[in-house]
């Protein structure tokens, strides 16, 4: 029995992950598991042989605390302070000696009575094998930019999906959280936002290009490789323009004893911050002031004492305590011809906002079989069930958190008669439904059942030449359920109740055939070739139905059968396909000179015949300088590798059939009181639509110093997106038909990625510190006619916030510049900015109003005075990781930071605007009330004569933050203790998430994410904030 790669599954192993340099830091060798018999019948000691010895490090110093165990049993001991041990072992036994940070050794006892062992420090990072698509490469031979994250580093973090756990773990991989709702995975951006359309990377799970990282139990993951540059990812040419994320799940090993592991954690989450809003008396006072300032009669509702008693903190009512629970089990094992891994898991997160949650039930079986020496087959199968309930937190008209900030604080949650309070009382209370009512009565959920599996076979024709086939299937069945109760007493009423069900199913079938050839000849020439053909088809079909008028709203009556009126019924079908030929040659000479060349040719059904095929070549070279003879004297540099590459990648991630002018039915109208259906063209066709491409150049440097205790990796890249598929800005005279994507724009991302790791073991204490940072600059280099692309408008007043312009980053903030508030009328009359502005002469600008700058110097402040006022893209995204181990304790800290970017605080913009019928931010109490009372918060008014709260730099804030994302403290029970209970390993841990946040940003959470695809970023809509979570858990391995 040997333990190759056993460390992957043994929780006692600790890993430091540092970008592309995952280092097996601590005891890479865990305690080996028992054979089935041993678990229940420990080896009799009668046949024992006494063995003793000393364990030392490479310098001959004794290593106290090293673990010595008998292979295949629970027997074992630990070396003492002098590194000595003594043990009785069965005849013919082998010993496994392991110590954190050192390579484990397995020694057959034979007839020896004394065994002295010298352990070598683990330098496995260079020999590490990376999964690079249709094969693996040793890290030292990789010439592209690849980051790798070991599964162990993201185990048991209380997150609903792996993408959250990836955040900040690798340079150039930016996981942008789009709010903190349970199950929300955020957006993965590799090397910047590469396109205005879908910029998500391709996810490949066990060789199947599939779904999302959300679809997998994070604890099943053995490793995640991120292919960042063109050379690395070109083998997936078709869909590689935005990078490739390759997920490899855990597997069993041949000749491995059965190992059973149970893992569980539970925790609670709470909100970190709420927005201070006005209390009821102050609100009434400020609302009255609006009218008196305008010379208007005060609306009597604000004089009514009934609404001037503070009653409810709506945010506190809405944000309760969330919970997180996870249980999973895994079973691995193998004999000489078969191995398997079996796992099952249940994860449940209940959000802070009532009635929001995420549940996942997962099952996985992976197995490998050797039919004979040359023929191998393997399979992966995952079944997963996800149930999600997400509240609306992205609307500045109905979002629940947005509503909670604005709902009248003088209203109770519920009236004495039990009904929910309502803003129907007065138009002054806004068009907001009671947010607690909204959440309490919300009844919607999405259930998805997914299957993801593949079957592969490999045959070795002659040594080094293999032919391989891979068949994959990804399928889902989804069911959306939404019941809207009858609402009569809220302002957004719905006099009729309704139930909608939305059913869909989709299948993607993959088939791949490829050959690979590995050969070393004449000693110094190593050649690796892989080439093949693949197709993937995608079919989806669905139907939906809505019925109205449910007499009985009981939960057991919320079925379509019960509804009395059929409102709508619909359904459709879609099909997409890809076909590709690919090839890659990797050659190295004497482990010094490396070359990789890749080509892929792809056909996509999304384009019209004639435009379907794209060709995507890439090549890269590497020079391992440290292997040169002239370098052998530079002792402190243990590794030095320079790489460079160029390649072209494709993107077709846009809706299909855009080359056709489609006529859609279902346009509703009525004649004579009867339902009629019309048909209209819903999209303008683009006959010439074809591939978007990205050309990327990469230069990399790998450095290892002091026996690789200090590792550094630098990558510089330029990525140019060409023929970018964008729906161009279109004049309204087209109507409302959808504008097709066109190959129009160009975009450049360039940046520097740095990854550093330092690790050290001193006696029983080990530590490692690592950091990664990416400095990325995003610029749109060409857009149609020098025009801009707009984005989602904000709130009731449809304010423009983000525009994408040539020469600027995607989704730049666009608006007016300001210079404080006018303090006196004299100042207004003398202000050159408004010298010719009719608003000044008509007396529409008053002291206490915002002083906007006349950028085009025509002495009028108008729409022509807007410009790009801010950049939502961080200039640097970084992660800092520190890990410590001492004896049985382990401790780790993980920080995430973003710096050099702006947030547009739209929620505050509306939150201090007195012209809305809403509650306001507490800071509004510091408004302008006379000369020099405020230079920031405009006066109270009911009018928008000066549009004080238009989009301007007044609401732009620095978004920089540093967040303690995770803290983990673990303790592993001493082996002699756990052995008595037949347990080979028992670890207990406490995890904290989002414990600390350093930022000057005034809103709830500086991680706001994308809205409207990539066209809006870091705009505060009062998104679902991230929670502070504490969990405790245990992992027990038998």
């Amino acid at each position: 029995m040997y333990l190759k790669a056993f460390w992957r599954r043994i929780p006692r192993s600790y890993f430091i992950v540092f970008g592309s340099l995952p280092i097996l830091l601590l005891g890479s060798q865990g305690i080996q598991a028992n054979s089935r018999n041993d678990i229940f019948y420990p080896s009799p000691s009668g046949l024992a042989v006494a063995v003793s010895g000393t364990i030392t490090d490479e310098n001959g110093e004794p290593l106290p605390g090293a673990t010595i165990t008998v292979l295949g049993s629970l027997q074992g001991t630990v070396s003492d302070l002098d590194g000595k041990f003594a043990l009785s072992v069965p005849d013919g036994a082998s010993l496994v000696i392991s110590y954190i940070g050192y390579k484990s050794q397995t020694i057959s006892v034979g007839t020896q009575a004394v065994i002295n062992v010298q352990l070598q420090q683990d330098e496995s990072s260079l020999n590490e094998v990376l999964v690079v698509g249709y094969g693996t490469q040793e890290k030292k031979d990789v010439t592209g930019a690849v980051s790798s994250i070991k599964g162990a580093s993201i185990q048991n973090l209380p997150v609903s999906g792996a993408s959250q756990a990836l955040q900040g773990r690798a340079a150039g991989v930016n996981v942008v959280r789009n709010g903190g709702a349970p199950g929300n995975q955020g957006s993965i951006r590799i090397r910047g936002t590469g396109t205005l359309n879908n910029a998500d990377p391709l996810i490949v799970i066990d060789g199947v290009p599939a779904g999302s990282l959300n679809d997998i139990n994070p604890n099943d993951i053995a490793s995640i490789e991120v292919l960042k540059d063109a050379s690395a990812s070109a083998i997936y040419g078709t869909r590689a323009a935005n990078g490739v994320v390759i997920v490899t799940t855990k597997r069993g090993d041949f000749d491995q004893p059965l190992q059973f592991s149970v893992n569980g954690y539970t925790g609670v989450s709470n909100s970190i911050k709420t927005i201070d809003v006005l209390d009821a008396p102050t609100l009434a006072q400020l609302k009255r002031e609006r009218f008196t300032n305008d010379g208007l009669a005060v609306n009597p509702i604000w004089a009514n004492p009934a609404y001037q008693t503070q009653r409810t903190d709506w945010q506190n009512e809405l944000l309760g305590q969330g919970t997180t629970q996870n249980v999973d089990i895994s079973l691995t094992g193998g004999n000489k011809s078969s191995s398997f891994m079996l796992s099952g898991g249940y994860f449940e997160e209940k959000g802070m906002i009532r009635n929001s949650g995420f549940k996942r039930l997962s099952f996985r079986i992976n197995s490998d079989h050797k039919i004979n020496d040359r023929f191998k087959i393997g399979q992966n199968l995952q079944l997963i069930s996800i149930n999600e309930t997400a509240p609306n937190t992205l609307s500045a008209q109905t979002g629940v958190l947005w509503s909670a900030i604005r709902f009248h604080p003088g209203l109770p949650v519920q009236n004495p008669n039990g009904s929910y309070s309502s803003s129907q009382i007065s138009g002054e209370f806004g068009d907001i439904n009671n947010p607690i009512f909204t959440q309490a009565t919300q009844d919607n959920k999405n259930t998805t059942h997914k299957v993801l599996g593949n079957f592969n076979a490999e045959y070795e024709i002659i040594e080094g030449l293999k032919v391989r086939a891979n068949f994959g299937l990804e399928g889902y069945v989804s069911d959306g359920y939404n019941f809207n109760i009858k609402v009569n007493d809220q302002i957004r009423a719905s006099p009729r109740n309704s139930l909608s069900r939305n059913y869909g199913e989709g299948y993607s079938v993959l088939s791949e055939y490829f050959i690979s050839y590995d050969k070393t000849f004449l000693d110094r020439h190593t050649l690796n070739f892989v080439g093949g053909y693949t197709t993937q088809t995608f079919k989806f079909e669905g139907f939906n139905a809505t019925k109205l008028d449910f007499i009985d709203e009981s939960f057991d009556q919320r079925f379509l059968d019960v509804g009395q009126t059929l409102n709508s019924i619909g359904g459709g079908k879609g099909y997409d396909a890809l076909a590709s030929y690919f090839g890659r040659v990797a050659y190295n000479y004497d482990e010094r000179y490396l070359l990789t060349a890749t080509i892929r040719s792809d056909g996509s059904s999304k384009f019209a015949s004639g435009n379907q095929w794209g060709y995507f070549p890439a090549f890269s070279v590497g020079w391992r300088i440290s292997e040169e003879d002239f370098f052998s004297n530079v002792g402190f540099i243990s590794n030095l590798k320079l790489t460079g590459g160029w390649g072209s990648l494709g993107n077709q991630n846009v809706p299909g059939l855009q080359y056709l002018a489609l006529i859609s039915s279902g346009r509703r109208y009525s004649f004579g009181g009867n339902q009629t259906v019309g048909a209209a063209q819903t999209r303008v066709p683009n006959l010439g639509i074809t591939w978007e491409s990205a050309q990327m150049t990469n230069i990399g440097l790998d450095v290892g110093l002091f026996d690789n205790q200090l590792l550094a990796n630098f990558n510089y890249f330029i990525k140019d997106t060409r023929d970018m598929l964008i729906a161009p800005p279109t004049i309204g005279s087209v109507g409302t038909a959808q504008i097709p994507n066109q190959n129009l724009g160009e975009l450049r991302n360039q940046g520097l990625e740095i990854e550093l790791l330092y690790r050290k073991t001193v006696g029983q204490f080990f530590y490692s510190v690592s950091g990664n940072a990416s400095f990325i600059k995003n610029e749109v280099t060409k857009l149609v006619d020098g025009n801009f692309i707009g984005s989602q408008l904000y709130g009731r007043s449809s304010q423009e916030i983000s525009r994408t312009y040539e020469g600027y980053p995607i989704a730049s903030f666009y608006g007016w510049r300001t210079d404080g508030l006018y303090q006196t009328n004299e100042e207004i009359q003398n202000d050159i900015n408004v010298a010719a502005d009719p608003r000044r002469t008509n007396g529409l600008i008053k002291p206490g109003d915002v002083k906007f700058l006349d950028l085009n110097r025509d002495q009028v402040v108008d729409e022509k005075d807007r410009e790009v006022i801010g950049n939502p893209h961080p200039s640097v995204v970084y992660g800092l990781n520190a890990e410590f181990g001492y004896k049985n304790f382990d401790f780790s800290l993980f920080f995430l930071g973003n710096a050099g970017f702006d947030i547009y605080n739209a929620d505050r913009m509306q939150g201090i605007d007195p012209t809305y019928p809403f509650n306001m931010y507490a800071e509004t109490a510091d408004r302008w009330t006379g000369p020099n009372t405020s230079n920031e918060i405009p006066r109270m008014t009911t009018k928008r004569d000066n549009l004080n709260h238009r989009t301007s730099d007044l609401f732009l804030e620095r978004g920089d933050f540093l967040r303690l994302k995770n803290l983990v403290v673990g303790y592993t029970l001493p082996l002699p203790l756990t052995q008595r209970f037949g347990v080979s390993k028992a670890r207990f841990y406490v995890t904290g998430q989002n414990l600390l946040l350093l930022t000057n940003y005034s809103g709830m959470d500086p991680e706001l994410g994308y809205i409207n695809n990539n066209l809006q970023l870091n705009v505060d809509y009062a998104q679902y904030p991230q929670a502070r979570t504490w969990t405790i858990g245990t992992t027990i391995t038998f």
Partner: protein, 479 residues
């Protein structure tokens, strides 16, 4: 054994690779048609015609936003909670005001769907009567959309069939006269092609009366009084009599009576008219916009029954249906003390009846258009004005003046999105002084406002559209 495996394996690969790549990449637009497959028969033509009406119902068009262009009038206080409306009401808006662009694209969508019909339907071999009707509807709706553009913004880009075929959308603005010429041409063709009226299942489609009525109105804006009388009389002599009761035009059961020449149709649970919600008091399930002011209430003659059907006023008992039943309208439901009533009906089981139409032009309107044309042309308009008055039990007038006409239009059409345009038309003709009228202090909610001539005759072209046009669109003078 080994060989067998190799053979099987190779066979599998060959079979799979053999499946033609091109076949795999072939796709079908399931459940949709391409424009080359569509336009086959009468069913397709009718479906395309039906679709032209759909954008009218949008909340950003006649579902509410279009009515906001009447809030500057002296009939109503804007009410509601749309902050941007204050600037529209008080003439302090600038081109960035979102109200200005809400309906812009929807108007062009009507035009775009009409253009598609006008391009494709002529080539379909089908029943001639239905073909004529369909083409007539397209001309009517295109003319109607340009009409709304013309009175709100003046000249706009004129997108016709040829522009669609050449993908030419970013055009400079046509002149107001060119737009009016297009409206005239479209409506004349519509009047020729459309049937005189429709039977039950087609009620709500535009017909000859719709086209002639709108033509009469358009000619009045052009001060071509002879044509107003000519085309108005085609309606007045046609099968479009005034309903016996004024209220019949505003009740769900009778809202498609012959007097209603064109109304935007609404059907609850299918295609709702959200304007119903906008005009209803909040505690009754509405959003409380467009509140009538005292100045309008006082305009009604003592005992004019139209007042009761036009507004909710304190003391009115309204049957809200369901558990609420008959409920008294109280002054605290509104900041002015009133709500418009023309757009709300109540379901027996409670809640607003969402099947309430949005009337656009009625025979009563045409009577008053003809009366105005006659009076302004120096003729006698008594017959027409008295027809409208008689229906509501008003005393007959002799030698009715423009003042009588102005009064009659105000009370007959209150809340029907006419007043502000009427006042501007009369101001241009020197009949009223809109500047003085809007300077009048109508109470704290409707303080004096400054109407600037000629700037405010037209609203501003939406800034967003100017930006999107990359400078091709130009702004109206003064903005």
């Amino acid at each position: 054994m080994k060989n067998t495996i190799i053979y099987l394996f190779s066979l599998l690969i060959l079979v799979s690779m053999g499946s033609c790549t091109d076949e795999i990449l072939e796709t079908t637009p399931y459940g949709q048609s391409t424009s080359s497959q569509f336009w086959r028969n009468a069913e397709d033509a009718v479906a395309a015609a039906n679709a032209m009406y759909e954008p009218l119902t949008n909340e950003d068009f006649y579902g509410h936003a279009e009515h906001t262009f009447d809030i500057p009038s002296d009939d109503q206080f804007r009410a509601g909670d749309h902050g941007e409306d204050q600037a529209i009401e008080s003439f302090t808006f600038d081109a960035g005001n979102p109200q200005l662009f809400y309906s812009w694209r929807h108007k062009y969508e009507v035009i775009s769907r009409a253009n598609a019909v006008l391009i494709n339907v002529p080539g379909i071999a089908m029943d001639q009567a239905i073909k004529d009707r369909t083409l007539g509807e397209a001309h009517f709706l295109r003319g109607f959309a340009y009409w709304r553009f013309a009175v709100i913004y003046g000249g706009v880009p004129l997108i016709l069939e040829a522009d669609v075929l050449t993908n030419n959308y970013n055009k400079p603005r046509a002149s107001t006269d060119e737009i009016f010429a297009q409206i005239e041409s479209d409506l004349l063709q519509a009047a020729q092609l459309l049937p005189v009226s429709h039977g039950g299942a087609d009620l709500g489609r535009s017909h000859r009366g719709s086209a002639n009525g709108l033509l009469a109105k358009m000619y009045l804006y052009k001060e071509n009084f002879a044509k107003v009388i000519e085309f108005g009389n085609k309606v007045l002599s046609g099968p479009y009599p005034l309903a016996a009761n004024y209220s019949a035009n505003f009740r769900v059961e009778t809202q498609n009576n012959p007097e209603v020449l064109f109304a935007i149709q609404s059907l609850e649970g299918w295609q709702d008219n959200t304007h119903i919600i906008y005009t209803t008091p909040r505690p009754w399930g509405g959003w409380d916009f467009h509140e009538p002011v005292d100045d309008l209430i006082e305009e009604f003659e003592e005992g004019d029954p139209r007042l009761d059907f036009t507004v909710y006023k304190p003391g009115d008992i309204v049957d809200l249906g369901g558990s609420r039943g008959p409920t008294e309208y109280t002054s605290d439901l509104s900041s002015t003390g009133y709500h418009f009533r023309k757009y709300s009906s109540w379901r027996a089981q409670g809640g607003l009846n969402m099947s309430h139409n949005n009337p656009i032009i009625r025979t009563a309107d045409v009577y008053l258009l003809v009366a105005e044309a006659k009076i302004r042309a120096g003729q006698n308009g008594d017959m027409e004005i008295n027809a409208v008055r008689a229906r509501s039990g008003r005393m007959a007038l002799t030698n009715a003046t423009m003042q009588d006409l102005i009064h009659e239009r105000r009370v007959e059409l209150a809340g029907e999105n006419q007043r502000h345009q009427d006042l501007m038309r009369w101001d241009k003709a020197g009949i009223v002084d809109i500047v003085e009228l809007y300077k009048k202090d109508l109470g704290p909610l409707k303080p004096p406002r400054t109407f600037q001539r000629p700037k405010h005759y037209l609203f501003a072209i939406p800034q967003r559209e100017i930006d999107l046009s990359n400078g091709v669109l130009t702004q109206n003078a003064g903005y």
